[in-house]
Amino acid sequence: MIPAPFDYAAPGSLEEAFSLLEQHGDEAKILAGGHSLIPMMKLRFASPEFLIDINNIPGLSHIKEEDGYLKIGALTREAELETSEVIRAKYPIFLDATKLIADPQVRNMGTVGGNIAHGDAANDHPAVMMALRAEVVISSAEGQRTVPIDEFFYGFYMTAVQPNEILTEIRIPVPGPRTGNAYHKLERKVGDYATAGVAVQLSLDENGVCTYAGIGLTNVNPVPMRAARSEEALVGHKLDAERIELAGQYASEDCNPSSDLRGDEDYKRAVVKALTKRMINKAIERATS
């Protein structure tokens, strides 16, 4: 399978990339890791006339804590999350997630920014970023703007990124003490999209009362989804079995899975409930260890 013809440029700066976007408008697509875009182009589901390869642009690949945020450059490869010291020490949720994203070769190419900018509710980082209440930095010739993750996803393959803009960074508020996070997705085999996935981050005070809860769901809604009622069920409470059960129940009721080859709707709701409870328990374990 070979993509339809297109023209290609690999600019060396964001300014050049913006000017190419200006020229080509919505006929252009940004090429980062290419592991969502190129398969779609090979299947002719997508036929952009112009590809702007951003891989030669410096300053888009980093993982660092700065000004109270964990900053992840949009071009950061999934494989780089797996080996990052700061991720290993403080953000195990990314190790949970990356291990289950496709396979090692794909993770060598695929980028964190691309995983989000693709706007697919089946991708894993959107739910993780919801649990962590990330902000997305979007750049254009006019400057930068920051969009909360809850306002980023508009619909299937549609996001807040406009045709003249490029997603350049993801910012995650550095969590306080006694915080734990975890992610798991049920997949039929390596490389499959999630039957369902659940991302959880929790903070506890000295008495074990929950002060923060973030819960994101993968592939059980047309757009990446926050389990808001589950979060509310946890904040302000000690997290006993009854509370955790309630949060799991709410998540399973509030999601909107569709029946497909990965399972019917009821099955997926049951998976969401089980995974939500498990990830809450894992996050508590990590917060208190």
Partner: protein, 167 residues
């Protein structure tokens, strides 16, 4: 519009004219005639087309040739040297790590990067490490053994028994 690219393949520089839509695997196989790199599924699943791009294993059916401009590509043809087979090739031979051989070039190139990052992987790390490479013949057990054999050999350790396992 064609683009001129320069890629180094197994240490040899090539300057080529390619269409932006040409896939790296097609350039490797059809323009450079290095047919050791296979096309299996053509959908980023099977790993038969795995090569190293600047030392990192990638699936060359999902990378454009223009993306490799200025980079180093390593294929299975570059593994063996005048001194003989690469320890991984020797491991696959000794351990019956292949039947039909279609997946083998991709397995070898993926295993090469795996052992560079993690010279002494556990069995579980090997299995996760080759999760992006499908084999329809061996049931994987002898491939895992082959990689363990290469790991030992490359560290100058005694190589494990090469008694093949049939499952």
């Amino acid at each position: 519009m064609k683009k001129q690219i320069t890629i180094s393949v197994n240490g040899e520089k090539h300057t080529l004219e390619v269409e932006p839509r040409e896939l790296l695997v097609h350039v490797i196989r059809e323009k450079l005639r290095l047919t050791g790199t296979h096309i299996g599924c053509d959908t980023t699943s099977c790993g038969a087309c795995t090569v190293l791009l600047n030392g990192k294993s990638i699936k060359s059916c999902t990378v454009l040739a223009v993306q490799a401009d200025g980079k180093e590509v390593s294929t299975v043809e570059g593994l063996a040297t005048a001194e003989g087979l690469h320890p991984l090739q020797e491991g696959f031979k000794e351990n019956h790590g292949l039947h039909c051989g279609f997946c083998t070039p991709g397995m070898l190139m993926r295993a090469k990067e795996l052992l560079e990052h993690n010279p002494n992987p556990t069995e579980e790390e090997i299995r996760w490490g080759i999760a992006g490479n499908l084999c329809r013949c061996t049931g994987y057990n002898n491939i895992v053994k082959a990689i363990q054999y290469a790991s030992a050999k490359m560290q100058g350790k005694e190589t494990p028994s090469t008694e093949p396992e049939f499952v």
